[in-house]
Symmetry: C2
């Protein structure tokens, strides 16, 4: 529909415009967006004007553009991310109250770990994950759990590489990753000491829906030298609580959560 | 750009498609979306196909359509909603730990209260608000706070009506609303007993950015017969903490939060 001379659809252009905004680049001029989205200047200005008019983007007093509150509202209010997150939130708060560093919920999304929620203590140890941020599957405890229970086809694709290292501890050797995934399935949890930052350990467990399918990974980030027994017990209890919460939701919430993985 | 024969832009069509999804209607067929968005059937199917291809919408095994995780991610990762919510979260968790029913953060958005966050105890009293949900400004304690500190022009527009009542206690008489707003400014908080549901009281305070501008309302919903002194003290302390958190954020977070109100 409505293809440009270069053949890209307006939907693709919209995606390119939205992708120019990042957690560290939240405000841009229309010209910057156009350049980064590879749109001709006049096209960019007209398209951005339309998006501002509908509230999907917003323009401030300095004519700088940001993602609109209306887009956030529409993308959030009916999303599977919100429903899974809401079912998990009470259990996550209990983990956070007990462990007190970072508690995170991630799903498998287009071959990466996408973080839906993160609770952090103000004086917790370092942590690179962000809400609505992504990490490679081999490079975090959440990713390892999601990959360990993923379809074999995705495992093979990830194994085929390239496997990116965020620190020296990240597993980038396919055979080692295969052994690690088998260990995750045998133990029922993933430990990732120093995978992302040298000083921190990620610890994750699978979250299952009422049908038993793994729909998310619940994790904590703790100091590298901290004991894991108490966090692990808290995570397993929370994963069970989330499964029960998914079950008790109306209208087949379990199915909804599962399809977030599709 | 790319107007249809009826003159609406593709951006407007996208907005209409997204608006067909609601918190209670999270999955639809392409035909249902087309009908609800007033799009011709062939247009709807082609457009939805494009949106699915880019991941902005998702199609499940039964060919039913939902809002895409990719859209949630793009709309969330750089949004002012997320940044304000992240600055407020530790303070909100402390309120929630102390009061234990519902703790909510709302901003003024296009003449309504838009809820960015809600923490709830599993066995808390009834509450109609939802994350990414809206309420009329006259009908909740959060809305009254946001309206009390809003530009005079918006106050006059709301006063001019229509003022919708959600229960018999909701203020729908303009003179009474004007008196209530003056009271909110004098007391520094809004009490809304039975405004939304007969059994519940909303209690809200303004959240200011470092410049002193009111950028949000922080509220709790408690049982109608509960004492308000402890919740009120917890809310005021939390609002001060959020202001400090906004100040300590890099890159003029205060301005960012303030512009969320524009």
């Amino acid at each position: 529909m409505a293809n440009s001379p270069s053949g890209d659809s307006v939907t693709e252009r919209l995606l390119r415009v939205l992708e120019t905004f990042t957690p560290t680049r939240t405000v841009q001029s229309a010209s910057e967006i156009g350049r980064r989205a590879h749109l001709p200047s006049s096209t960019a200005h007209r398209f951005i004007g339309e998006l501002v008019e509908t509230g999907l983007l917003e323009r401030d007093e300095d004519h700088r553009i940001r993602v609109g509150m209306r887009l956030w509202e529409l993308a959030t209010r009916s999303s599977a991310a919100l429903r899974l997150r809401q079912a998990a939130m009470p259990a996550m708060e209990r983990v956070q109250a007990r462990i007190g560093e970072h508690t995170q919920l991630a799903i498998l999304e287009q071959g990466e770990a996408l973080f839906l929620e993160r609770l952090s203590s103000p004086d917790a140890t370092s942590n690179v994950t962000r809400i609505a941020g992504r990490l490679p599957l081999n490079a975090s405890s959440s990713g390892l759990v999601l990959l360990a229970y993923a379809p074999a086809e995705l495992q093979e694709r990830v194994m085929a590489g390239p496997l990116v290292a965020l620190t020296r501890a990240t597993i980038v050797e396919p055979a080692a990753l295969r052994r690690k995934l088998a260990e995750v399935r045998r133990l029922g949890h993933a430990l990732a000491p120093g995978f992302i930052e040298e000083v921190a350990t990620g610890l994750a467990v699978p979250v299952r829906d009422p049908s038993g399918a793994v729909v998310a990974a619940l994790s904590v980030v703790i100091a590298r030298d901290a004991a894991v027994d108490a966090p692990l017990a808290a995570l397993h209890r929370a994963a069970r609580d989330i499964r029960v919460a998914l079950e008790s939701r109306a209208g087949g919430m379990g199915r909804v959560a599962a399809s977030a993985l599709a």
